[in-house]
Amino acid sequence: MAADTRIDPYLVPALDGVAYGLLLFVAAAGLVLCFGVAGILNLAHGTLYAIGGYTAAALLDGGWPSLLLALAVGVVAATAAGALVAALLTRVAARNHLTQALLTFGVALAGGSLLVAAFGPDDPPVRVPAALDGSVSVAGHRYAAYRLVFIVVAAVLAGLLHLTVRRTRAGMLVRAAVDDAEMVAALGVSPAWIRVGVLAAAGALAGAAGVLGAPIIGPGPDTADSVLLLSLVVVVLGGLGSMTGTLLAALAVGQIQTLGVALAPAAAPFLLFAAMAAVLAVRARGLATARRAT
């Protein structure tokens, strides 16, 4: 009984941490592909997500068909935006990560203000299908139904991504191009088209995440920045390119943001970054001492 009351208040945060972590994974999925796997630093990722979010806000009317429509439109729009980024990332611009950062940050700045100009400075309301817009009872606590749905969506996405990257020829080409684009070209495949494909696919993922995640991390002037930052954290913590690593990282970040905050509210403002710096530093040390074949 006593133990029960001690654990009970943390039950919902822990569950929420899972759902939130999975949302982070979905939001970061596009960036995993782009930066983690293909090595293209796309700082406009958050903007692609925001495109999906605004689409959801504009199209969702509380019914299921509108969800499908929003998903379709959001994915198409974000894919197009991803392809646009790829078009701007010519060979010159893509020559290294820092120039990529410069260019995509520019796209993010400009895209962000265009979105705000189009949709206004306020956070628009998002209406999810009525069946999901409520709370359900979990172990005697109320919990938002929509968040539970995320567990399924994220699991499917993680599996698909893993298969695509590890098992398909396309996935191998993408990884090969990171190592040596010229040799990929010598195999008869255009590295430029790989770049376009990756950014478009990342855009599609971000768009889907934006539509589906809109009820939780909703569209607004800040969305792009916060999604980008969280995604970067998750991707880097996940070890760049490993799907399982990214999933675990997302879950860990989710728990820190919920359970960690519930356990130590006073430390909340420091918790996130302190943990991240510590983990990365420890892991970097691990890598530095790991063997290397010369």
Binding site: N96, L98, L109, S113, V282, A284
Partner: protein, 339 residues
């Protein structure tokens, strides 16, 4: 032949810029002088970012941390000690160096994008701390009414925008010259070598970790000194001066300036920051749009450097370990991010 011409051209431009900067306060109004002073301070932080990012190959988003440490040390501690600028500079540089030294264990073995994220975290932590330590830093509202300083013992206090600007200019010029001089010695050579291939440097018997730690602390000191200049230029500091967007713009400015070039970093950072400040004034509401488009255009105008991209230590995307580390180490520990 062509290279010499380019070098001569560059030298000419540098002289022109310097002359322009010296004469500027008599040619422009107070607003522009104040803007220039602030910009120069940020340009100096840009120099420290370039020192790490371009010269040593450790891309950083966290130079705002020693910058903030220097600024607050100068405003709080320096003001109590004396009203002499060089004392403030010393205190600020020491504070910046101390903060950088404290974070050396975090940075020293990380490379590439991991450094980027660790330094980002350090920067955010420092800003959070500054925002909450109200008794000393004035909290999120900042520290207003910092008393003016005199550059040296016996000189009058800096009361006008023009005087403040000239003081900033002199200090920045001296510090940048010092950095350039040091980089011309073997220190610069070793840093560039480390950026290319660290393992080879070790195989030649160099202590790479000590070298990384050293440049990190030195860059911290430069950023700290810049913090003191910000206090002079602006007479007000708040955590907002040291936020993530400042770091990001500085890094981008350094990229525009040519990553590995100290002078370029100063100019690049200054252009980006001044451009933003100026745009906020003249194009209210459209500044981000214009800035964004400007970035996109700039990338395509940047001079290409032949075949090989300038190296970042271990590239931004570090190679995988030769052998997968054991699963326990691979599991990411809990962390978070700013939303």
């Amino acid at each position: 032949m062509r290279q010499e011409a380019v070098r001569a051209l560059r030298r000419g431009v540098a002289v022109l810029v310097l002359a322009g900067l010296l004469l500027a306060p008599w040619a422009v109004d107070d607003y522009t002088a104040a803007l220039l002073a602030r910009t120069l301070a940020l340009g100096l932080v840009g120099v420290s970012v370039a020192l790490l990012t371009g010269v040593a190959g450790l891309p950083t988003l966290g130079q705002t941390a020693p910058y903030a440490a220097g600024a607050y040390a100068s405003a709080v501690l320096g003001s109590r000690l004396s009203d002499v600028g060089v004392v403030h500079l010393g205190v600020a540089a020491a504070a910046g160096a101390a903060l950088a030294a404290a974070t050396v264990p975090l940075v020293v073995s990380a490379r590439g994008v991991v450094v980027l994220m660790i330094t980002l975290a350090v920067g955010e932590l420092v800003v959070t701390l500054v925002g909450r330590w109200r008794s000393v830093t004035g909290g999120t509202d900042g520290l207003a009414g910092v008393p003016p300083v005199r550059p040296l013992w016996g000189l009058p206090v800096l009361a006008t925008d023009r005087a403040r600007y000239l003081y900033t200019l002199v200090v920045v010029a001296v510090l940048v010259a010092a950095v350039l001089l040091v980089l011309r010695t073997r220190v610069g050579l070793l840093l560039r070598a480390g950026r290319d291939d660290e393992a080879r440097l070790r195989a030649s018997g160099h202590r790479v970790s000590a070298q990384v730690a050293g440049v990190h602390v030195a860059a911290g000191a430069v950023a700290g000194a810049a913090g003191s200049l910000l206090v002079v230029a602006q007479q007000f500091i708040s955590p907002a001066d040291f936020g993530f967007d400042t770091s990001a713009l500085l890094l981008l400015g350094v990229v525009i300036g040519g990553t590995a070039s100290v002078g370029g970093a100063l100019v690049g950072a200054a252009i980006v920051i001044a451009g933003r400040d100026w745009l906020f004034g003249v194009l209210p509401g459209y500044a981000p749009l214009v800035l964004g488009v400007a970035f996109v255009v700039t990338v395509h105008l940047l001079p290409g450097d032949g075949h090989r991209p300038p190296a970042v230590r271990g590239r931004l995307l570090p190679g995988l370990p030769a052998r997968p580390p054991d699963p326990a180490a691979e599991r990411p520990a809990p962390t978070g991010a700013r939303a």
